[in-house]
Symmetry: C2
Subunit: 244 residues, 2 copies
DNA sequence: CGAAAAATTCTTGCATACAAGAATTTCGGC
DNA sequence: GCCGAAATTCTTGTATGCAAGAATTTTTCG
């Protein structure tokens, strides 16, 4: 009943998480605990439906229950966990219906970002976003899926930042968490990556031209296409769980 | 140094907050603490920039620091508070620029809600939303500003619910917190209430007809008009602080 | 042997104790 | 009398203790 190996697979996952040094500064525990736990959830290391035992998390993260509980509360608010009264929180299910709901919202939000960004796009900003696009292509040629995801996300994020609207960025960040989770869950190369690259270039062109309506429309469609493909991949994955 | 009257005006504000009975159920403190504190911030009872002393909040709310700290974390994530490392959290400033940023986001979000809701609008749902509209008018005739605000919010909320998109509702709730704060801050009857009523009726008509494009456009414009008026009122208020 | 009930164990929710950093006050020097 | 530095006080960040509710195991009865 005390053997560490079989109490739960969670132990193994957490064992390799780098722990903050004892000689740390005060006030850094909450943030780092949230980041570690969030990463485990978004990457799928903690599977949907998994129960979170606070005591166990404390042991593995090397912190007390206070920061762990705070992190759980934070991630619950972000929609990554579900809280049950007087019971263990569980990792939120990755509901395909919810991801379909995400499509409408994210595409609309990014469409707005594109509209606003086009009006503010300097040559420098467009060049910077273009660089992120090429970084994404580079990762693709190298077969580096995580780097590809990251650069793709940075491309979109930078456009939202360029919109100059802090509320929009805030909302986008919240939505991006869920999108990331879905992406990691599929863990496949998007089948439409070639088309995605074309769409990125067309978005860049619209931004560069300062054409708000066009940038908005192209971003909306690009996001919709991408997420629709993701949903299709997830449905496939559900149909045949072990990627044949 | 111990006289309760002058340590801070916060004490007076909190003194009248109904406290949960000692014979309560376990697990209700976090939620109620968040609700109480949020209400104080949204209504403006806690002014923007005010520092939150945890110990004092504990005394006044009759709970320990744990739920208070959790509530502070929650409201910080909602953007109502700002956290400073190793220092007291403060009530977020009510920045007019941020409210202007809200206009674009909220109008877009509600526009999407209208688009989706129109496709799902049954006669029953439209009637229900119409009822909320009439309730709002009733509060107007009675000069009941809080009731007016509440019914207006319920009208909009119900449309978002009707969209059937849970992600959209989630985002809308987050945005509505900030909108409410701005509304309470102005604490004026909207000058354009007569126009707002007309717009509501036109929105209802579009929903009833199932015209997604029209419902979307009308909601977008209605929200934009309303929030623009709000911003104008706030700018006025800043120019001449004591409403002459 | 199976099932239901009681007792035990475990887990969360809240309160509190302790430590590190910030703010304030006081004391010394000029 | 004023400025600066040291000491004190105060406040937040983290850990732990205690109680209520849930889960599990054991025991007892049919």
């Amino acid at each position: 009943m005390d053997s560490p190996a079989d109490t739960t697979p969670l132990a193994a996952l957490l064992a390799k998480v780098p722990q903050p040094e004892p000689g740390r500064r005060k006030g850094a525990l909450h943030g780092s605990t949230v980041a570690q736990l969030r990463n485990l959830i978004v990457t799928g290391a903690l599977a949907p439906g998994a129960k979170l035992n606070e005591r166990e998390l404390c042991l593995q993260l090397g912190v007390s229950r206070t920061p762990v509980r705070e992190a759980i509360k934070t991630l619950t608010q972000d929609g990554l966990l579900r809280a049950l009264p007087n019971k263990s929180s569980v990792v939120a299910e990755l509901d395909v219906g919810e991801i379909e709901a995400l499509i409408d919202v994210v595409s609309t939000i990014e469409g707005l970002a594109g509209e606003l960004a086009a009006a503010r796009a300097t040559d420098e900003a467009v060049a910077e976003i273009g660089m992120l696009h090429y970084r994404m292509m580079l990762h693709h040629t190298r077969d580096e899926l995580p780097g590809y995801f990251e650069a793709n996300k940075a491309f979109h994020r930078r456009i939202v930042e360029l919109s100059g609207n802090p509320v929009l960025l805030w909302i986008w960040e919240l939505l991006a968490l869920r999108v990331d989770r879905a992406r990691y869950s599929s863990n496949l190369w998007p089948k439409r990556w070639k088309m995605a690259i074309q769409e990125h270039e067309q978005i860049l062109a619209a931004l560069s031209a300062g054409d708000a309506a066009l940038a908005s429309q192209r971003l909306r469609e690009h996001v919709r296409n991408g997420l629709s493909g993701l949903v299709a991949a997830l449905k496939d994955r559900i149909a045949k769980p072990d990627g044949a």
